[in-house]
């Protein structure tokens, strides 16, 4: 590879700082464009030019001081000017290597490699950015090294390094038309449509009122459309494939991501069936992969959010994916909640349910949408039995299974007190056994 120094040290792609700047880069370009286009006038726009120059210099410095190498069984990354920081990531702990290409990165033909580390730290090592053509070979090489470090290389040593991997099986690619239809009748979609219709109606009635609403609720309006856009952008032509490492997920409209989900990383799985989707037999499947800590560079967008495995699809397809993600899950639900739970949760009552195997618990609830959550018991963090005033009157109680992160809520809602107590004791014991076995 290029930019090689001594001792196997390598630099990232020189354009990395620009791509990493992301939106800031675009903003600067937009601000500076008039100056540059106008030619002269340097005296007038001097401050901006100086600022841009400083930023470019800083970017250059950050590029020149950052280097990485593969040394022994470690990936070593060094960065920093005054406070030099050298981080070693043991390749044996690599859980997955994701290839991410944001919009700007695609423009400059570079890609980012994200190494998700397992173990206690749960950190993420980022190589941002490398040349697009080098990303895939490097990705394969890192995974191979990781496998060798873990001592799983026995079978691969005989065959050639490339050929040994069994071909992946593509399970589904979500057609864009289906995705659009699904988003249009999903909760966020309907909300955005209602906002839009409301604005149009207000405008027809009185344009001044519409302006007032626009300026007053701009934040809300923009955010509701942003949610819809983000969903579309991330889930566009999402392809799910089954490979030897787990589920491969690729897709995106502007930013392309390729991610491998190993079953061992799954903290919880959530199947959501919004009200209108249920009539059509559609559902979406989301996975919580929350690590213990999120890397600083991972960005707000990725923090504490679920990874969509299936943006929209049939229940049968979801079952197939679930077989990979939580293979030992319970197949059937236990008896429904006691009838008196109707008084406490009238909307939720028809959906309430739970079941368990020795290693996995599943709960189902939801008011309008039906949400089913699976939690592998060895990933459960803590358990809580909660009883509110109404529940006490009806002698009901809920048991919460707390998972890492804050996205998935698995709750055995409104069970008979005795059943809840028994479930709490059983789940606690099973979780302990599962943790030991892990």
């Amino acid at each position: 590879m290029s930019y090689t120094g001594g001792d196997g040290w390598q630099r990232l792609h020189p354009l990395s700082p620009i791509v990493r700047g992301g939106r800031a880069t675009i903003a600067i370009a937009v601000i500076l464009a008039p100056t540059v286009l106008a030619g002269g006038g340097i005296g007038k726009e001097f401050p901006q030019l100086v600022a841009a120059g400083v930023l470019v210099a800083l970017g250059f410095v950050s590029w020149i001081v950052t280097r990485w190498r593969i040394d022994g069984g470690d990936l070593q990354i060094e960065t920093g000017v005054l406070r030099r920081r050298s981080t070693r990531f043991p390749l044996a702990q690599v859980q997955a290597v994701d290839v991410v290409r944001p919009g700007l990165a695609r423009l400059f033909r570079v890609a980012e490699l994200r190494l998700r580390m397992g173990g206690a730290s749960g950190a993420t090592a980022r190589l941002a950015y490398v040349r697009e053509s080098e990303a895939q070979p490097l990705h394969d090489r890192l995974l191979e090294l990781a496998r060798a470090e873990r001592g799983e290389a026995t079978g691969e040593a005989e065959s050639s390094p490339r050929a040994e991997r069994p071909p992946e099986r593509v399970l589904t690619t979500v057609p864009p038309a289906l995705l659009v239809a699904a988003i249009l009748i999903s909760d966020v979609g309907i909300f955005a449509e209602a906002v839009l219709v409301g604005l149009v109606v207000t405008y027809i009635v009185s344009s001044t009122a519409a302006t007032a609403v626009l300026s007053g609720g701009a934040v809300w309006i923009i955010s509701s459309f942003t949610v819809v856009w983000r969903r579309f952008n991330q889930e566009y032509r999402l392809t799910v494939a089954e490979s030897s490492d787990g589920l491969q997920i690729r897709g995106g409209l502007v930013a392309l991501t390729a991610e491998t989900i190993r079953p061992g990383r799954v903290q919880a799985v959530r199947l959501v069936e919004p009200l209108l989707w249920r009539a059509l037999g559609w559902c979406r499947l989301e996975v919580d992969l929350a690590g213990r800590q999120r890397g600083k560079g991972e960005g707000e967008a990725q923090r504490g959010r679920l990874r969509t495995v299936l943006p929209v699809g049939s229940l049968a397809l979801a079952e197939e994916l679930l077989d990979v993600l939580v293979p030992d899950r319970p197949r059937e639900f236990l008896a429904p909640a006691p009838r008196r739970a109707r008084w406490k949760s009238p909307l939720r009552y028809p959906k309430l349910g739970w079941a368990r195997t020795d290693t996995c618990v599943v709960t189902r609830s939801g008011r309008l949408e039906r949400v089913t959550a699976w939690v592998p018991l060895r990933k459960a963090q803590s358990f809580r039995r909660v009883q509110g005033p109404i529940q006490r009157r009806l002698s009901l109680a809920s048991v919460h299974v707390d998972t890492a992160g804050r996205s998935v809520h698995a709750t055995l809602r409104d069970r008979d007190v005795e059943e809840a107590d028994r479930a709490l004791a059983e789940l606690t014991d099973l979780a302990r056994v599962a943790r030991r076995a892990a």
């Binding site: 803590s382 909660v386 302990r432 943790r435």
Partner: protein, 151 residues
């Protein structure tokens, strides 16, 4: 749930109840003076009644707190209106905080808070005597290290 027998449950120190009562008293006095100045003396009995109700609430809340150290996990119970029983495995505790505000320090108290990777776990035990809080913290940290499980 096979909860441990009642005598093995530990409770916050009595001083916590004294502290909470003092807080209620302080608030009640401020409220009483406030309404007396603003609306006349007729409202003072209202403030007194509210103060009595608050005292009752504070007392029941105090008595609801309890924790028990079992072989593999810590049980914490609390709450009057919403009664909660949390089971936190030692191996899941990432770190443990001991905090003491100015009023707590005046009464020689501290709060122990357990953090797991789950945001919802929210397990804390307020009003422990300083020595007990530090003992609990050290013991939990030790047990947590011994039983630590990866994510």
């Amino acid at each position: 749930m096979e909860t441990p027998p009642e005598e093995t449950w530990k409770r916050p120190a009595r001083a916590l109840l004294r502290l909470r009562r003092l807080e209620v008293l302080g608030l009640a006095i401020v409220a009483a003076v406030g309404v007396a100045v603003a609306g006349g003396l007729v409202f003072v009995p209202v403030a007194v009644v509210l103060g009595v109700i608050a005292e009752r609430f504070v007392r029941r809340r105090f008595h609801s707190w309890g924790y028990a150290e079992r072989a593999d996990d810590l049980l914490v119970r609390r709450g009057v209106m919403f009664s909660r029983l949390s089971v936190i495995p030692y191996g899941r505790m990432q770190f443990i905080d001991v905090t003491a505000g100015p009023l707590d320090r005046l009464f020689g108290l501290a709060t122990v808070k357990m953090h797991t990777a789950a945001a919802a776990s929210d397990a804390r035990i307020p009003g422990l005597e300083r020595a007990e809080a530090e003992r609990l913290r050290d013991r939990l940290a030790q047990l947590g290290e011994a039983q630590a499980a990866g994510l």
